[in-house]
Subunit: 278 residues, 4 copies
């Protein structure tokens, strides 16, 4: 099993940041596996993701913070350390459309998604049988009972939430509790057709491609930072049902990629956008 550490950093861009980080890691005997960075020239920002082998790294996790803090302060960094050994805990919320849920559960089961799934929450019973097949606890909670939903998330120590075609709007308080930790899939190529019934509106407009978008949820509907998008070609032969069927495959693709990247700590959010380090 992979045992690596990941440092995510963003700070004002200036000379010496790369040297400071790489020198720090070298002094503690890190074997760097991936090192990616991005500069935003307009905003004067530096963003970076460094991953190194936990094997042989001289600094225990508990001592990382005090050791790294002087560098972080010198450059004014926002930073966090993640380790692949700690599997993040994911709650999936779902309604009656089960294709994204089924896809995520199969991928999880086959080892593609390195996370725990302690609970599935739905406002309908439809998903129960699937949850039981994969031996994941299932809770049927009314979409209006957010306090029960949030209690479940707390109880299961959930790190992030995936809305797998959940079809309900979360309250601002719910969203605020999980900043950049709630991933939604919208069945259009945002910002086109945000809101309700995107396939119907795409059909009426006569577009030649339909899309799907995974994004972090913010207070404003369908407006959060986009993580991934994809499209598929349609023609005049495709009726709304065909759009929905083709769209389901898109939704699965963009949502599962977003979940994987989130788990792998590849995503940094800034300026309402995401950097996805590959």
């Amino acid at each position: 099993m992979k045992n690596s550490a990941i440092l995510l950093v963003d700070c004002p861009d200036r000379k010496g940041i790369v040297a400071a980080i790489s020198d720090f890691l070298y002094r503690h005997n890190a074997n760097i596996l991936h090192n990616d960075q991005h500069q935003d020239a307009d905003l004067g920002l530096f963003l970076s993701r460094v991953e190194w082998d936990g094997q042989g790294f001289a600094l225990p996790a508990s001592e990382f913070r005090p050791a790294f803090q002087p560098i972080a302060e010198k450059f004014g960094m926002r930073w966090r350390l993640e380790t692949s050994a700690v599997r993040p805990r994911l709650a999936i919320m779902v309604s009656k459309y089960l294709h994204c849920l089924a896809d995520l559960l199969y991928r999880h089961d086959s080892g593609e998604l390195a996370c725990e799934i302690p609970v599935i929450i739905s406002n309908h019973e439809d998903a129960r049988r699937l949850a039981e097949f994969y031996r994941i606890p299932f809770a049927c909670v009314s979409g209006k009972d957010e306090s029960r939903q949030r209690a479940l998330l707390a109880e299961h120590r959930v790190d992030f939430v995936v809305l797998a075609r959940y079809m309900q709007i979360l309250s601002p308080e719910f969203v605020a509790q999980y900043p950049q930790r709630i991933i939604n899939v919208h069945h259009s190529f945002l910002p086109a057709f945000s809101g309700a019934k995107p396939y119907h509106r795409a059909f009426e407009r006569g577009v030649k491609l339909i899309g799907a978008t995974s994004h972090y949820v913010t207070e404003v509907l369908d407006d959060g930072p986009i993580i991934e998008q994809d499209v598929v070609r349609i023609s005049h032969r495709d009726q709304i049902e065909d759009l929905q069927e083709k769209g389901r495959d898109l939704e699965k693709a963009v949502l599962s990629r977003a979940v994987r990247w989130h788990i792998d700590h590849r995503i940094l959010v800034y300026a309402k956008k995401t950097v996805v380090f590959d």
Copy 2:
């Protein structure tokens, strides 16, 4: 050189239309090359494109109308007959961005576009040298002088107009004179980012794909029936200049396909949408 005839039909859907058309063509000894049709169940519409070999067809073009009229009347058809021997006459209007113009002229020169290009009209001098290289008459006319523009189109007996990144808005009167005969390219995946500066707005929104759209021009800006769309993937590394550069290739692709399909009489417009028969 190809010598084929194309019949384009739309009418209320009912039984016997296909039989009536194919029987008519058979009786006049047509060798059918392509036969495509589309039914819109919701609107109860039948749309069809039939192409046959002009060689051996027993009915001269001048006699087609009276011979076909009884069938057309029986089924309430809107129809037109086109022949590949008559090359449609295209005027290209362009501003300072020349990539779409250069692409169309090269394709025309190499035989990909079976049309005449009697005139290129621009509000700047930049395109003149390119026009001269391809030996196409060039006219520099102020964007505000529509009467001069329209006089040029009339004088050159222009059948349809392509706005190859023309950047000016045509008056409703101009548009009304060429219904479904003006093709524009918009540098976004419509309906996203209609209007000005789509690449800038795509960059700010943080989309993961950018697009381009070719469409027929109607009175409402960027709202006409969509002919073709395509997208390309971008990442956080792409700055606005990169979006513009990648976008140029998209614009060329979707515009040149639309022009080819228009020339080949593959496009039928209905319900604000297009059917593109392949």
Copy 3:
């Protein structure tokens, strides 16, 4: 539920075929839903697929053959009539990789695939639990025991077979019994990397895209008529495991499309190639 009839025809191309078929259908009161055809000029072949509404069609299925036979004979047609009311019976053969099986079963369960799946056959036990979840009979049979396999297919009156990453080679006798009725998925962009370990060889060659291919099985390995192909972009960052993971999604996509098109009677094979009517 849809109740339509589909006529598939191929014959030497000559004048009057379309007229003869559409007149025949009109005389028996058919409401044509789709009408697609293809001419191969080099081979002088005409191929066609016509679909009409079973509702209101005047000719019972049992009387179709004698009524249509004169036309078929006149034009030397190979033809068959299918009806959407008769759901074809599919056997899935699978080995230890279950992603294609899981994908097909989910699609079947959610109504995307209008077929019966009377049996799943595997040379391993791994797929049993999945089969039971979807309540499909499961048989574990050694890959070498073809007589038992073929007995099962006969017993379940199987119309066509899908090799969902089956990993075993069928005998020529087995293949000959199901001509154009066995669909395989190969994890490369054929004809590149036919045979064993395509992802490893793609990795070594340093290709920038990997592919997958669904095709009808013939006597020659990976050489049958191609039904569908797709590709996905990879980079130097992708290791063999990443190719396999990205490839799994491709395999599911191209296989499920092939199965759907086969069920919908959209595929005609000729000259070692397929026509897929859309």
Copy 4:
């Protein structure tokens, strides 16, 4: 105009390489713009591309080598320094198909390709008019007269050569003189359909996608390290002429990307493959 320096490095992977390079650059006051790296775990290789702002960098180009040499020796690096201020000199060789040439010349003229094009060499006269339009010297030389070709390359101090559908095979001596400096475009998705007439063979095989590949030329035909590939969907309706027409757009795309990446010093070759740093 951009004035940046690019360091390309490959060496056996071990700890401390990133720290050594970034510390070296920091000490000489480099403002790093891009920093990308790749580890090949199987081969134990480290590859890197670092780009920094020439503005403010304390080390003149002439002093870089002696200053960096101790680090290079310590880690056993193969390395080179490039500067964006030095525009590489490109010779284009072309035959009768001019679409790739026209595309490259237009891109060069519009500023997309930061190189000089001192000469175009062809074994036919067809390209002369295009070359003159873009004011590039043109030489018509028999494909068999390699000594004249190579003399022209030497005379024009050519850094790299692009075979823009040149259709002739270069001698091993010619190839050896420009290792990883000759870029070819092959009109198939390699390794499928290497050699002659790939569109014809793709048509016969009945593939559902056609492709194009740009690669560095080596002694073995169509076997060199692949730089870029792309595909486009085709159907049974596409005849060989359609494949050729669609293919031309692919060829332009994959060739122009390869040329741009080569000019930007983004490509490292190892193990017969390329790393293309983005």
